[in-house]
């Protein structure tokens, strides 16, 4: 196992009192994989990452790097590369000196270090920039210098804290693809912190979703997206419609959908229930006879390749659908129009029971 974190906890003393930032977190990162710690601001992602690097001391728990317990070691002895959100480049050193910093400390012979720096400059698209100072670089270039500096001494594990947080959207996307390709080339065990779910879904092998110092779910991107384990994950990863309703006598109604309680033996009369469905799992037609349910288009907005259509069902539920541009054109949807719709897949959570979200295909239970 590349990185293994067991039961890590961390409190901070603040002016407002004790703040528990991380509450007993455990997860694993496979050797050679690229994984993500995903969560909203303040969820404790950076704190976990910093504890793995030794920049923060956990109150309890243990960290293993390649199977070895490292909590008693200072950051110098852990062999991790760390990339900071704001790069943290050495301002007084040239790009090449930044990259060779770790090599010098490892007493790599000057010639070998020089060769390694040259190699990294080329690999990271920084050829010809070795003599510049950090302030003479663009944000994207700085980010790559920070990565090159962290990777130069060949660390066991690479940790990245919001690596693309400080660059604009376009560069962000480029760097993201580039990082994935780089990872495929060098295969160093990598764990990156991000609050951008798209980034995590797109380039990571595994995602650890954190919220308020706790882990909500660990899984492959598809698992996280298709079978969110909690309401938080459902809401946080990807777009999601969430509708709250109550189980009536032996059934739950959402519009014309009726869920018989025999089929859901955990639902009883009067239970508060939340239903989840993705906007792309909704089919719309301007022909009112095509689907059973009817609703009014309240608003449409342009998303580029897709259109976002906000609807209000006959029963008064509000939700939104995302449909491909060509279908939108073909059907000729307009605001104020009454359309028919069908929801392909739904998940539900019994709020009385709590626990995991359960998934079902709606058509089975009509």
């Amino acid at each position: 196992m590349g990185v293994e974190v067991k039961n890590l906890s961390k409190e901070f003393n603040t002016a407002q009192g004790v703040h528990v930032a991380v509450k007993g977190v455990s997860f694993e990162v496979e050797e050679g994989s690229l994984s993500a710690l995903l969560g909203p601001s303040g969820s404790g992602k950076s704190t976990v990452l910093r504890m793995i690097a030794g920049l923060e001391t956990p109150d309890s728990g243990e960290v293993f790097l390649n199977g070895e317990a490292v909590c008693h070691l200072p950051p110098q002895k852990r062999g991790v590369g760390f990339v900071f959100q704001n790069y943290a480049l050495f301002k007084h050193l040239k790009v090449s000196e930044n990259i060779s910093f770790g090599l010098k400390l490892k007493k790599v012979p000057a010639e070998e270090a020089q060769a390694r720096v040259e190699e990294l400059l080329v690999l990271f698209g920084l050829a010809g920039l070795g003599e510049r100072y950090p302030h003479q670089l663009s944000g994207g270039q700085r980010q790559r210098v920070a990565l090159a500096r962290a990777l130069a001494p060949k660390p066991k594990v690479l940790l990245l804290d919001e690596p693309f947080g400080a660059v604009d959207a376009k560069i962000r996307e480029e760097l993201r693809d580039w990082l994935r390709k780089l990872h495929e080339d060098i295969h160093v065990t990598s764990l990156m912190v991000t609050h951008d779910q798209e980034e995590a879904l797109e380039i990571c092998d595994k995602i650890v979703v954190m919220n308020q110092g706790l882990i909500e779910q660990v899984g492959k991107p598809e698992e996280i997206y298709n079978t969110p384990a909690s309401e938080f994950v459902a809401h946080f990863v990807g777009s999601m419609n969430i509708v709250e309703t109550k189980a009536k006598a032996k059934q739950v109604n959402v519009g014309p959908y009726r869920f018989e309680t025999e089929k859901f033996d955990d639902i009883e009369k009067g239970d508060p229930v939340k239903l989840f469905f993705r906007p792309q799992d909704i089919y719309l037609s301007s022909n009112l006879k095509i689907y059973r349910s009817h609703g009014t288009i309240e608003r449409v907005s342009f998303l580029g390749i897709n259109m976002k259509v906000e609807l209000k069902s006959e029963e008064g539920f509000r939700f939104f659908a995302i449909i491909p541009q060509y279908i939108f054109q073909r059907e000729g949807f307009k605001e104020g129009q009454v359309v028919s719709y069908h929801i392909e897949e739904m998940s539900y959570l019994n709020l009385r029971e709590g626990g995991e979200i359960k998934k079902f295909t709606v058509s089975n239970y009509l």
Partner: protein, 268 residues
């Protein structure tokens, strides 16, 4: 904005500034040079190279250098602790930082005498260590350190705050020991403000009069600094020596000021 609209106001303002500075700085300096000239340069240079004056300048230099060395080490350490560590009473220390600016140097000198002098709380300690602190050079060093101590700390606090810890943490993950981190990351980032703070301490030590006079009692040839010498020379009507020493002090300050301007430019 308002000033720009009023025609002729700007030249008037500049004239006022010039006249003010001339009256405040230029005239005294001019009188000094004038008087020295009347005494005759040969006599003045003779006086300047007398043992008394050399000793006085030597002592002043010693005090200046101690201020630089001690503030360089302890001022930097204190600034680092204040910015990096959280502890009870931190805000109290922040409040006390400017105390040496507010308290009269004479009071400081007097307090040191009470502390280390006959029957003082710390008199025994000084005795045990075998140092005499009252009416002696070590006591004057302490007085100088007291009056100069805010400069380095005040210069470094905002810079360290702005610098943050990330560069140092990056160095740590790359394998740098705390010592290597300090010398290869922290120090290069604070060297200009540090140097500026040190020059301010040097300048203050150069001109200090009250505190060192009270603690050292200005014994000629022993605890007499350059400024104390000027004071005594004037009292005893040794004008040539007084003018010469004053001019030399001014020259030293000027050199210091010019180099400080250069440091300030490098700092920004």
């Amino acid at each position: 904005m308002l000033l720009k609209k009023t025609k002729g106001f700007k030249p008037l303002l500049i004239t006022i500034v010039f006249v003010y500075l001339l009256w405040l700085l230029g005239l005294p300096l001019w009188t000094l040079i004038q008087e020295a000239y009347q005494e005759g340069w040969t006599k003045i240079s003779q006086e300047l190279f007398s043992l008394e004056v050399l000793r006085a300048f030597g002592l002043t230099l010693l005090l200046c250098l101690s201020a630089v060395v001690f503030n360089g080490i302890f001022g930097t350490a204190l600034a680092l602790v204040l910015v990096r560590q959280n502890f009870r009473g931190k805000s109290l220390i922040f409040g006390l930082l400017d105390l040496p600016f507010a308290i009269s140097a004479v009071v400081v000198g007097y307090a040191l005498i009470l502390l280390f002098g006959h029957g003082g709380i710390l008199a025994g300690m000084a005795e045990a260590l075998g140092i005499r602190l009252v009416f002696s050079v070590p006591g004057m060093v302490i007085a100088t350190l007291f009056v100069t101590f805010p400069f380095v700390v005040r210069e470094l606090l905002p810079v360290l705050q702005e610098l943050g810890e990330e560069q140092e943490q990056a160095a740590a993950t790359l394998g740098a020991s705390p010592r290597q981190i300090f010398f290869s990351v922290t120090l290069p980032n604070i060297k200009w403000p540090l140097l500026y703070g040190l020059s301010l301490s040097f300048a203050r030590a150069l001109g200090e009069f009250g505190a060192v006079l009270v603690v050292g009692a200005g014994i000629a040839g022993f605890t007499e600094t350059a400024t104390i010498f000027v004071f005594r020379a004037l009292e005893e009507r040794m004008y040539a020596g007084a003018y010469g020493a004053s001019l030399l002090l001014i020259l030293l300050s000027l050199i210091l000021l010019i180099s400080m301007e250069a440091v300030k430019k490098a700092k920004n």
